[in-house]
Symmetry: C2
Subunit: 446 residues, 2 copies
């Protein structure tokens, strides 16, 4: 049986490896348009921050290992361009321009997502580089070094932009962030977003929300980002406005796409074509809290989806559970985490949300070294169910959020969650864990 | 209505405060035999470690505040000695020897637990001091300072003993630990216990398991702990062999006691007498995983129980959910945590356990500063349910355990837990959270 995988990143290589492990007799071919497979994309900002580290350190497993040790027919530099579900073939072109055709019995589309580029003139200029692929990281790292970059403008204020700010400031590079929408982190509790803004500003990042982008121009000594009421000089401009799923190949082949143009899959990662699976950042998922389809491109889901596809290709019937949108990121000394819905999302999904925001401490009463922890929690007045949590603090946030994530998976009520037996020792938190304090307060409102 | 509380620590003061908040017209009297109420007992080792900190810093709220601001009739130096459920009275004696009698409509027994003392001659000698009450902490701190203590022997190797070791070593005091049972941390996975043992030894703690205790003697320059095959010299000896519930008062009044001699309560914290509640370290609880009664004296449960009693005294019908035995402690640079059952406990409770132990990392591939994380996980082959987790590592353990605790509360299967959407960012863990890696491995065995 021929199992063909389009895309050699998290979902694709997880699927290929596991399929070959499950059934060594399987012919597994991976088509990857770049030269890179299996690398830690999320590690790029941290690698870029360290001039002494090599970007190649992020490669988890080299292409040759997949070929030699795992028996995977891994074809790098192979861009899939057309899919014919009728005769079960994929065709495309290599980086040398050679056309190829491949037939499959089962296909996985794991084409990932691409950075959203601002729709303004000048994005093709040298020094305008988004951060998505390892090659982007390579280019950014080289550009910073070769051009002695001192000023960077970041377009967008999402996770990647915030992580890149920290990397740039670590190299003492000036960082300006600009975006057209007026609200900084609109999905976040406003008081908590303000704490993050202060953290950025105290680390020398300059924020410019609410500026429509007009164009990028080359200047005498670099680039200019021009807005109607603002001009920012830069040596490099990083568009970091989020990503969009690479679903054209599937859509052009008549495969159904859905939310945010992602490829619609069932819980077995099957698309509308019985022989075609999709997984990773190009595919949608079910949100456990809303029960509706969602598109949240994150690494864990890509890996998990790849495994499930491999098992299903090999004749099992593995189902992935939904997502609750758990995410964490670091902004200088702050840990920022979320899981589930905020109040606006909850209202939109048909809930009747109540919310609280509490401040607690990262260590016990009188324990030295404590810092503040903020928790925002949302519950449903109709059912009493926990709907979402946001957290913020210098310590004890990144892993605490998982307790809320598990509670969301279990569809716990706020009351049930408030009764959880959580760990206590003075160096690690107060007797009432900040999550429990938030739940206790929220209970009074629902 | 007269609500009388025996014991002014976590459960007692939580109940008294909340009852008065619920119903300001209530007459709330607290009988506390010592002079201290409302302090962070768990913070004592950390306070003792810092000669510059005052032990009184651990007081969360002073007795006078409870009296003046909250209107609680708080009687310190009042030791309850006899309970007559028939005529609803408590009698006792003050620290000045004055007899008192009090009648109640509703009573809460929150007498806590007492340290287990070794049953050997010499425990009454000066310098043999257990660590339980704030006054014990005061004595230990003063003794260390006044006698210029350089050598301490700890009897027992449980949480408190381990925390005290770290405190003593921070003051460059020699620490020897001795216990009669041969196995260090018998409840823990043996490989993981060995990591803790190495951490202790590399910090200069000397362990002597498997030595029967014979007697303590005064010596020319301090004390001697004598075992048949070992004699340890010390300036101070700390018995830290665990605690036993203070249930005599209840038992003598005919109130039913159960597991480990703790007072038997229902989920509303009611004892076998309809007007008497019990909460905190003197009371039992239901273990969520086994469904059986258990006795696990920990601070969060005491506070939660106190609140529930207050609500029930005021006419509500609040039920506390069970415990899953979540605990965390710090041993020098290690965080050690557990929730639920180990394999032996699971077998004893009638499960058919499978277990795995995995090693993972605290940060992502190629992220600097990563350290090892160990996870041991137990599941039931019959039902597929998650039964317990133990974790160990230098970072990322203390709060991760709560995700397992919530899963145990929700009675999740290992498969469901393995599908949890956990947070990922390179500074905080690998893509597959160590808990998920353990769950994935355990799934292969059940």
């Amino acid at each position: 049986m021929d199992f063909v995988v389009i895309g050699g990143d998290a979902a694709g290589m997880s699927a290929a490896s596991r399929a070959k492990r499950n059934r060594p007799d399987l012919n597994v071919t991976v088509l990857e348009k770049t030269g890179d497979v299996s690398y830690s994309a999320c590690g790029m900002p941290y690698n870029i921050a360290e001039p002494d580290m090599d970007i190649e350190d992020l490669v988890v497993r080299h292409a040759q290992v997949f070929r030699d040790k795992q028996g995977i027919n891994l074809l790098t530099g192979h861009c899939a361009e057309e899919l014919s579900p009728g005769d079960k073939t994929v065709s495309g072109r290599t980086s040398e321009g050679k056309v190829f055709h491949l037939s499959y019995d089962k296909l996985l589309i794991a084409t990932g997502a691409s950075p959203v580029m601002p729709d303004i003139p000048g994005t093709e200029l040298p020094g305008v580089i988004p951060l998505k692929t390892l090659d982007d990281g390579r280019k950014i790292k080289a550009f910073i070094k070769d051009r002695r970059v001192r000023r960077v403008v970041l377009i967008g204020m999402g996770y990647i932009a915030l992580e890149m700010c920290e990397a740039l400031r670590a190299m003492d590079i000036q960082a300006d962030m600009v975006k057209s929408r007026p609200t900084f982190l609109p999905w976040m509790n406003a008081d908590m977003a303000e704490v993050i803004r202060e953290e950025l500003e105290s680390n020398g990042v300059v924020l410019h929300p609410g500026h429509a982008l007009e164009r990028i121009e080359a200047s005498d000594d670099g680039l200019k980002l021009i807005c109607p009421d603002l001009t920012l000089d830069a040596d490099m401009i990083l568009p970091a406005m989020g990503v969009t799923p690479n679903s054209e190949l599937a859509a052009n082949a008549g495969i159904i796409t859905g939310i945010g143009n992602s490829i619609a899959v069932d819980t077995g990662l099957r698309t509308s074509d019985e022989n075609v699976f999709a997984a990773g950042d190009c595919a949608d998922a079910v949100h456990v809290v809303t029960g509706e389809k969602t598109w949240i491109p994150l690494a864990l889901r890509a890996n998990r989806g790849g495994w499930a596809v491999a098992d299903n290709v090999c004749g099992k019937d593995v189902r992935v559970h939904g997502t609750v949108g758990t995410a964490v990121f670091k902004v200088f000394d702050l840990q920022v985490a979320r899981a589930g819905l905020n109040a606006a999302e909850a209202t939109k999904a048909g809930f009747d949300p109540a919310e609280v925001m509490i401040r607690s401490r990262s260590r016990a009463h009188a324990h030295p070294g404590a810092s503040k922890i903020w928790v925002q929690m949302v519950g449903d007045k109709k059912t009493g169910c926990l709907l979402g949590v946001q957290m913020l603090g210098k310590e004890g946030v990144a892993h605490r959020i998982n307790a809320a994530a598990v509670a969301l998976h279990a569809r716990m009520t706020v009351e049930q969650f408030s009764q959880s037996d959580m760990a206590y020792a003075p160096p690690f938190g107060p007797v009432w864990d900040p999550l429990l304090t938030a739940a206790n307060q929220l209970l009074k409102k629902i």
